[in-house]
Symmetry: C2
Subunit: 430 residues, 2 copies
């Protein structure tokens, strides 16, 4: 073989200069999530097809949208398409978890989508979920955690669209549309931004819905204005509706968290997945609307029961890490050079490499990231290597330094050098 082999279509490598930034992203997210008391969980990359394809979860039709395969024993498996289904299985498998169970999970998921900007077939999600609470307090908390993370990540302006599926549900029923087929209406309505109102109407017509009723339904969802105005309108349209009451409480709580300014009620959003049962969320990054929702989620009160557990309410929010990374790229935040090295120790002769290694080990134990000569390079080539990595300081060691326990510390930017004791190096460098 001599032809180049590339990563499979829809996947990508994260080169070191990108991965350093990505690790920083995940460290920030982890810290924020833990500040709310969320704890980490890890589940397998693949799950049984029985789980992924369950009706009310992915459904049979998801087989064409995931990586499905069989192991050597004929087990039907699939790469997970999100982190919500595995969480729900974990909770179903572990009925004695203390509730509320607040977990975060940062990991990959896979979908066989058409690749486009910021969208890959392999992608990272950073999820927070709260299991065991049916109160809007839970929605407020996952949104506050997610919003804080997005703020700390410094991605620029963004806002979160919030709706409750039951509001769409009630509005549809009010127009006389069939309740048992609401999910089909949701799927079409969810494409509103993609295919426009006309496209949605066309789809609904093909699905056999009464177009007049559908039109009236769509009109009803078309409420704009401030959150207060939308709530007032909804309270009039749907008096004593539990979803509306809880949305109002959610907005009140988000004000207490001081993040309400990031949230816009939007009665039109539905989300495509089957499993949502209440509030749903989508996030728009201003100026990066082409990326679609960069963080999404919602309530999934039926999923844990569906997977064999006791019916348990749950809600969550998921950051799309690759889309956020795409924003970083557009902001020019990916460093040009990947570097974790703080000091390169240059040995003047082959005979002083041993001393260079001893010095490097001493520095590492003191928290300095150090490199030595791995290629029997001469002094000039070692300095070239330091330059190509953009290293500010090198420590030059020859027989003189070896005998005296010193190094000649050279500032590569200023082109200045002076002899210093090894024991003084760390305090000079930090």
């Amino acid at each position: 073989m001599s032809e180049k082999i590339l990563p499979p279509r829809g996947t990508r490598d994260y080169a070191p200069e990108e991965m350093i930034l990505k690790n920083r992203m995940f460290d920030i997210i982890r810290k924020v999530y833990e500040s709310f008391g969320f704890v980490p969980l890890e589940t397998p990359a693949f799950e049984s097809w029985e789980l992924l394809g369950a009706k009310g979860s992915g459904g049979e039709e998801i087989k064409n949208e995931i990586y499905y395969f069989k192991d050597k024993s004929g087990r039907e498996l699939g790469l997970r398409f999100d982190l919500t289904a595995p969480l729900s299985r974990f909770v179903a498998n572990n009925p004695n978890l203390v509730k509320p169970f607040k977990r975060y999970q940062i990991g990959r998921a896979w979908r066989y989508d058409r690749p486009q900007a910021g969208r890959f077939r392999e992608f990272y999600q950073a999820d927070v979920d709260i299991v065991g609470s049916s109160e809007p307090e839970a929605e407020a908390e996952v949104l506050a955690a997610g919003i804080t993370a997005l703020q700390e990540l410094k991605i620029g302006e963004f806002y979160i669209k919030v709706n409750d599926r039951r509001i769409l549900d009630a509005l549809a029923v009010k127009q006389g549309l069939p309740e048992e087929r609401i999910i089909e209406i949701f799927r079409s309505v969810d494409k509103l931004e993609k295919i426009g109102e006309e496209g949605v109407m066309q789809e609904l017509k093909e699905k056999g819905f009464d177009l007049k009723k559908a039109k009236k339904f769509l009109n009803e969802t078309n409420i704009s204005g401030t959150n207060d105005k939308i709530l007032a309108k909804l309270k009039k349209e749907l008096p004593k509706n539990d979803a509306v009451t809880k949305l109002e409480k959610l907005i009140f709580l988000l004000e207490k968290y001081k993040v309400a300014d990031k949230v816009k009620l939007d009665i039109k959003i539905a989300r495509g997945l089957d499993y949502y049962t209440g509030p749903v969320f989508e996030t728009i990054a201003v100026g990066n609307e082409d990326l679609g929702s960069i963080a999404s989620g919602g309530r999934f009160d039926k999923l844990i029961g569906l997977y064999g557990g006791t019916d348990t309410p749950a809600t969550g929010f998921s950051l799309g890490a690759d889309r956020i990374f795409e924003i970083y790229k557009r902001q020019g935040k990916v460093p040009k050079r990947a570097n974790s090295t703080e000091l390169i120790i240059v040995n003047v002769t082959e005979e002083t490499l041993d001393y260079a290694i001893e010095v490097s080990q001493k520095l590492r134990r003191q928290g300095i990231n150090a490199e030595t000569n791995l290629l029997k390079r001469n002094m000039k080539k070692q300095l070239d290597y330091a330059n190509s990595k953009g290293i500010k300081y090198v420590a030059i060691v020859g027989e003189n330094e070896k005998a005296k326990g010193t190094v000649t510390l050279k500032n590569m930017e200023k082109n200045e050098q002076k002899e210093v004791k090894v024991d003084d190096l760390t305090s000079i460098l930090t």
Copy 2:
């Protein structure tokens, strides 16, 4: 569906109490690797079958040992079986990387093995590799980094067996065994500990090797004693052999790194994978020998060229994170309760939840991990929840505290409480 669905055979969940420990493991490894100037890389979970199954890489026969599948367009793919093949592809795809290219990668790999203690079909590896150096300096560095990580991880006593395949090669040729079939002999010799000398002889017989020569060959590999003694014997047996000269240099360098006491030359080890071309490593955790090698690696000078790159020397070392985690479990290091929460704020009445949330947000911004009431629980139940999580401090807030900007801080262990100002909380807790 109401039957429980479990994780697929050979995979497992990492529950929060385990995942907290695992994250700590990875943080330690990352820090050590970076102290040597290694930079992170991430590659896709699956690669093309063309790559995985290439002769000299996994080989056609590996199809039965991996998760192989096709995507909807018929592309042949497989979950990666290690992080070395993807690294080599990455280097082949990026010919302009500055050399030496020192990368680390922490990630999952998958093999369709028989599951056993500490061995899963889905497992984590933490690899360091140096690309671009054919000198023993590179082996010394990856071993020093790996050994330092294992020491920092505090897994107890361990030692690394080191050999060079070319020594086995030379000894086999010396006995008149066919050079082009050396890899088959390696595969059998690699099973020495598993199936014993008799088993190995039986296999070699079945493969059609001359038993007398094979026996003599095996005898020759049976050198024991100190590293110095083994080196002396090898220098006599194989004078001027490059592999022997480099092993001697490697031991010298490891002494300079002050980690040579962790390394034992062992001429019998070969490693099963096709792609090794020089030194090979295996790690035994004393008292946990049943786990097999907990960290392994070696030199793979042909792999990058095989994947379409310029021939580039490379060597590396890989920690088996799940086996190390198994040692932690045996050491009783997995915490009983998962917790990232430092303080729970208890609201006495529904009307003081808003104040509790405001206090919690203030604390989070000051670096305190805080939780509030997500379930409309009464005070007693909130205190029960704090107890069940093993939280030391709770902050109780009623109308009085809300009016004064204070909380009643309760030490749950001592059952003592006092009123403190919100602004003083962080300094009390840290």
